[in-house]
Symmetry: C2
């Protein structure tokens, strides 16, 4: 049966990806510096093998035949997702793939030092090459998929999402967000708060993190917590490797980071056991993945009811201090302050950083803007959204992110889509189970069971639209997100 041949073939791919995930995690957490060259080579060979696995000439025939076999609904969806992965891996000509990979590596590598030196002019020619090749790739993808150029890139990270939907969401947000930011800042200007006084020893922070992960239902029989320079949630569903980093002067960084990654981790651990070897058993999209981390970090962990529970733990693990009082934590963890750097942004200003990037990358890919105009456009949009100028400040402006350096256009919207999905899920959960004021008091099992039932177990068996609709009774809407922000930050 062609369908079983496909299952076997993709299971093998999954095993290769497993080895890559663990060796990648090791590289970031355990590997001594001197091992890097050999590791990079080994992972390079693995990447080639994974690629070859998807170039196998038998695949086209199997897909063709499997379409005529009698399959269950879930198998049909599994077939569709395998086909999506295969199509994504095969629709670009090999020399374009190679050229993009080379240009991307070159630009990303140079960016690491160019950013430090605020060197936009050194960056520009490398970036122009990346953009040119990304436009080619987008055209080829667009032709093959029957989509617009930018949509064809978006499709890689957020299957089913389209520019017209994004435009509608972001237009909506654009109408009220700048005003909201102003109002919140005005309000918070009158609200004094205490800054916790460190230092907080790393081993105490780690103990606290493990305690919180336990309370958040992380399964330590199928995962672990370690340290890396850039926190991530890696490994495989059966063995989730979560990382953080500790700052002795700022315990909130590791704490909130761990809670965020635990959201990603529980999604992974909650994926359906029967399907997790295949694409259909993996996370629905980058946005849905981010919705889970943001649900944990923003919806749940910064809610006053959760902070009331967190307060005694902070006193217990980090030493008692007035700053750990619940009311103070609530103010501390919901401070809003427009800033240059996306990754440091708070919940309210974050969408502004994303909309700015979305507008720029869409125009870059569609050919409506040239790379050389990037700094000017960035400055102009930063002024519009956050009232900040990045003129001549490239390192804290258009050079701050890694994404575009290797041509990952179409990824940024996932962050804010995640926030919107999370708010929609949180609203639905409260309508069905009762308000967070009660739900986040004590045992959180009901919360996680709801997510397991409505999100995690569906993996990619449902489209994102269907996932949201079955969970919330309505299609994607930005209203709960706006409501959440107004509720939390203005009331």
């Amino acid at each position: 049966m062609s369908y079983s041949a496909l299952e076997q073939h993709f299971e093998q791919l999954h095993h290769l990806q497993h080895l890559g995930a663990i060796c990648g995690w090791d590289q970031a957490t355990m590997m001594p510096a001197g091992g890097n060259e050999a590791r990079a080579e080994a992972l390079g060979t693995l990447a080639v093998l994974c690629h070859q696995q998807l170039q196998d000439e038998r695949l086209a025939g199997w897909f063709n035949d499997a379409g005529n076999e009698v399959l269950s609904l879930q198998q049909q969806q599994s077939l569709k997702e395998m086909q999506r992965v295969w199509r994504d891996a095969t629709l670009l000509p090999a020399d374009l793939v190679r050229a993009r990979s080379l240009a991307g590596s070159r630009c990303e590598h140079a960016w690491r030092s160019l950013r430090k030196n605020n060197d936009w002019h050194g960056f520009l020619p490398l970036f122009e090459e990346v953009v040119a090749l990304s436009r080619h790739a987008a055209s080829a993808r667009a032709d093959a998929l029957g989509l617009s150029r930018y949509d064809s890139l978006l499709e890689q990270y957020e299957p089913g999402m389209r520019t017209h939907t994004l435009d509608a969401l972001f237009d909506d947000i654009n109408q009220w967000l700048p005003g909201l930011i102003g109002q919140v800042q005005e309000k918070q200007g009158h609200e004094p708060f205490l800054q916790p006084q460190g230092p907080f020893a790393t081993d105490r922070q780690k103990a606290l993190g493990l305690e919180i992960m336990t309370q958040l239902g992380f399964d330590f029989n199928r995962g672990r917590l370690d340290v890396s320079a850039h926190p991530f949630c890696g490994g495989v569903s059966d063995d989730v490797r979560l990382t953080t980093r500790y700052d002795e002067n700022d315990a909130a960084q590791a704490l909130m980071g761990i809670i965020h990654e635990t959201g990603h981790a529980r999604y992974e651990q909650g994926l359906p056991v029967t399907w997790r070897k295949w694409p259909v058993g993996q996370a629905r999209s980058m946005g849905v993945h981010e919705s889970q981390s943001l649900f944990f970090e923003m919806q749940l962990a910064r809610h006053p009811a959760f902070l009331t529970q967190l307060s005694p733990l902070l006193n217990q693990y980090l030493g008692e201090q007035p700053a750990f009082a619940p009311e103070n934590l609530a103010r501390l963890y919901t401070r809003v302050k427009p800033g240059f750097i996306r990754v440091d942004a708070d919940e309210v200003t974050y969408p502004a950083h994303i909309m700015l990037r979305y507008q720029i990358e869409r125009d870059l890919i569609d050919g409506n803007m040239e790379p050389r105009h990037l700094p000017e456009r960035w400055d102009q949009l930063m002024q519009h959204y956050l009232g900040l100028s990045t003129k001549d400040n490239y390192k804290n402006g258009c050079l701050q992110d890694i994404h575009w350096t290797d041509g990952s256009f179409g990824y940024f919207p996932s962050y804010t889509l995640g926030a919107i999905y999370a708010a929609q899920l949180a609203e639905a959960m409260q309508q069905q189970l009762g308000p967070f004021e009660k739900l986040l008091t004590g045992d959180l099992t009901a919360v996680f069971d709801w997510l397991q039932h409505h999100v995690w177990q569906h993996a990619s068996l449902l489209s994102t639209d269907a996932l949201l609709t079955q969970a919330s009774g309505q299609a994607l809407t930005v209203r709960p997100f706006r409501h959440h922000l107004e509720q939390r930050y203005l009331s």
Copy 2:
């Protein structure tokens, strides 16, 4: 050029093995229990890929053509070693490989509980199947290689070693070892010593281990120390992963274990950078590998001059006590006591355990003995060598080792060959650099430089015979080993 095609092909194999080594290390040190099934599957797929890499139909032609290409001497040796690996992987028919692998897994898996229950009769039928298939394999190997059956197995672990050489070595040892064991016991009966008093906290033992590894020249930029149930030296040459286990009541176990594994590790770290991607750049044999760990653990670390240096470190890291005086350490670390268990045996009785196994496995493979007679033969040989009876005591007798359960016949001699090589190298080193009494005082650089020059850098560029001859000026001889034992234990 066919030679470069081969190099590229075997480099790819090396990369796959790298991924396997790291994921195997992770499995033993880091992986939570729940991750095991997925990991086993992923590693299984990798094993198949490595196997396929060596079944590639182009290889025969490449080897054929490369023989006619102009190659440097080192390239010729590299070609020879690639061919050896390829031949080993291809000379058995696929169904015999599969049958052996199945029978071996089954027997090894059952052995884990059967041994605990002292259940010889449950073990026997499984073992008979393993022996039968190993005989088939040995016959096929023997035909293809023009060797005797047992030699064809030996060749996998100890290239170039033959039964007639082993018989000569072991006959020699057999003539004096039982007498020596008696004399040493007699002598040590009159030598009182102090047992160190624990407990010794794990973190102190680890700090001591790291200090010793540093003194022994372990490169922490290309390796690390962790904990696993069964200590090993894994990873790759550029990133050596060494493990140990800690017993709070017995600090010597981890300490001597770490020193032993550091010997393996320095060999790996000292392999020639230019060649380490290919078979010719890898360890010469199991025996040569073991010679390095035993050089570190036995020749070096139990030498009075080294113990004089170790003594203050023990006091510093584990707390001062009279048992850590150099003279007491010398007695403590050279106690000889015949026992049932090979892995717990001291330097003097260890060869007896090996000779016993050698005699049995050679007869099993050559068909001169049947599996059902194993316990009787074991008991008889234990009585001969060590004066101990294992009658009805299977778990501490013929069921104690894992090696035979999956058909690894021909491996055991490597342990004692390692001890013999180590003694021969130690004697040569002292002839060239001066006696250990002076050489092991203070900085050990000269010792390691000598090993780098005479052993490590040669990897598999030389045969074991040539390696020993260039290092010591003479072919393999058991004399230095006997001299070492008499010197250390009787003088």
